[in-house]
Amino acid sequence: MLETFCAAARVKAMLNEPGVPDVLNKAMEILGRCCAPFAEGEFRTDTGIMRAAADSVQQVSHNDADIRSAAVSDVLQQAWENANTHEPRSVHITEYERLTIVGLQYCSSNVSMRDSRVFFRNISQELVPGVIEHIFSIERNQERIYYLAVRRNLPVSAGCDDPFLPYRDFGAQLWSRTYNKELDIVPVERTQICHAISTPWGTSEMVLKPLNRVSRKFKSWTVVLTHPAGLRCNAHCRS
């Protein structure tokens, strides 16, 4: 780790020198564009909350012991048929109790409420909380595609005073304890998902905050060096 740090420090020192090669300057610009250091309103993405889902390609797995033998419920079947997934409506669905996404376990609410409360990006690309009610997969071209059926928390009523609004950078928000009537079908490998921490607030609301993944599960991490002129240099390291 120390060696990586020293290597990165040397790169940074080299970039600060006047005779830095043009190709590196061009790389600086490209990196700067690709990894905008801060986008207003998207602070939560800075803290790596969505890292788990963003890196999740080919990192979703299930244990065969978690396959549910019971028939798929009518509610799930109907939600699947109503969802705009571009998949055939009459397809064989395999349901699970648990799913591992990038080393973290997600459960359906009847198995563990703690591991079923999540934040995900809905169709409008808003980060919304909900509870996983079903975990299932379908097969397409011999490839397994995983989905979550999530019951979304509704926003608080218009007259409700949210004390977290002045502390937007804290990341928590009040949500209603009432859930949406419809289930959201969330494709695991194409949607950003993370766990949530919550506590009741009054009689009909709750505070919810998206959580960063646990750091000790990281197999690799990224060092981002910031150049005084806005350069960012990413180096993948082994922890």
């Binding site: 780790m1 740090f5 990165a8 420090a9 990894c35 250091p37 801060f38 602070f43 800075d46 803290t47 790596g48 890292r51 973290l104 376990q105 563990s112 409420m113 703690r114 591991d115 409360r117 004390p163 977290f164 502390y167 950078d169 804290f170 990341g171 928590a172 766990h195 949530a196 921490i197 919550s198 506590t199 009741p200 607030w201 505070v207 905050k209 959580l211 646990v214 599960k217 991490w221 990224t222 060092v223 981002v224 060096l225 910031t226 005084p228 806005g230 960012r232 922890s239």
Partner: protein, 206 residues
């Protein structure tokens, strides 16, 4: 023996300073302990109602009691990440609390936000600026609530961290937790207290 003498002198100094601080607080009529037993009990009840994923280790349920011992770094992190700011805001901002308690709740929230900006996986001038803004607000809040508070070296050091964020990038790349972990491993290693005799063997192990 010299080492013991130095330790004794340092201890005396600390006790002397602590006495001065206590005296200063008493003179200004501000008690050093802001939380009553009843409030600590309320906080503990609130902590029990927090629902977290199974991998997330929260602070002890009896937070504030001596029985739980020293908190682990992970517990401090989760306590300031959600538990304490939300609980204090709930108890003192919405359910009622005097001006001093409301300021303390606000101050705790500022600290939580400062840490969030400071430990971001991205470092930029804006991150450094926001970190300093909220950290300063936290320290000003503490000064306001505890006028006789004696500042510690850490309070001074935390106002320099923005320089490091700009120079070295995100804190995850240079914070001391990996070294602390190695120190923890070394502390658990059995030794015969003969330092230097088997140095090569120890180094070979790591």
């Amino acid at each position: 023996m010299e080492v013991d003498d130095e330790a004794f002198i340092a201890e005396e100094l600390v006790e002397e300073l602590a006495a001065e601080v206590g005296e200063a607080n008493n003179q200004q009529g501000v008690p050093a302990e802001v939380l009553t037993d009843k409030e600590i009990n309320k906080i503990q009840v609130e902590l029990c109602s927090i629902e977290r994923p199974s991998w997330h280790r929260g602070p002890p349920k009896n937070l504030g009691d001596a029985e739980h011992g020293k908190l682990k770094a992970e517990q401090w992190r989760s306590a300031i990440e959600f538990d304490l700011p939300v609980t204090l805001l709930k108890l003192w901002k919405t359910e009622g609390g005097d001006d001093r308690r409301q300021k303390l709740a606000h101050s705790t929230m500022c600290l939580a936000i400062a840490i969030r900006w400071g430990v971001s996986h991205v470092a930029s001038a804006r991150h450094a600026q926001q970190y300093t803004k909220y950290m300063t607000a936290y320290l000003e809040g503490i000064r306001d609530v505890f006028p006789g508070h004696s500042w510690r070296p850490n309070h001074h050091a935390c106002l320099h961290l923005h320089e490091f964020l700009l120079r070295y990038g995100p804190m995850h790349g240079w914070w001391m937790f990996p070294f602390e972990r190695i120190i923890g491993v070394l502390q658990k290693t059995n030794t015969n207290h003969k330092i230097g005799k088997h140095l090569g063997q120890i180094l070979g192990k790591y």
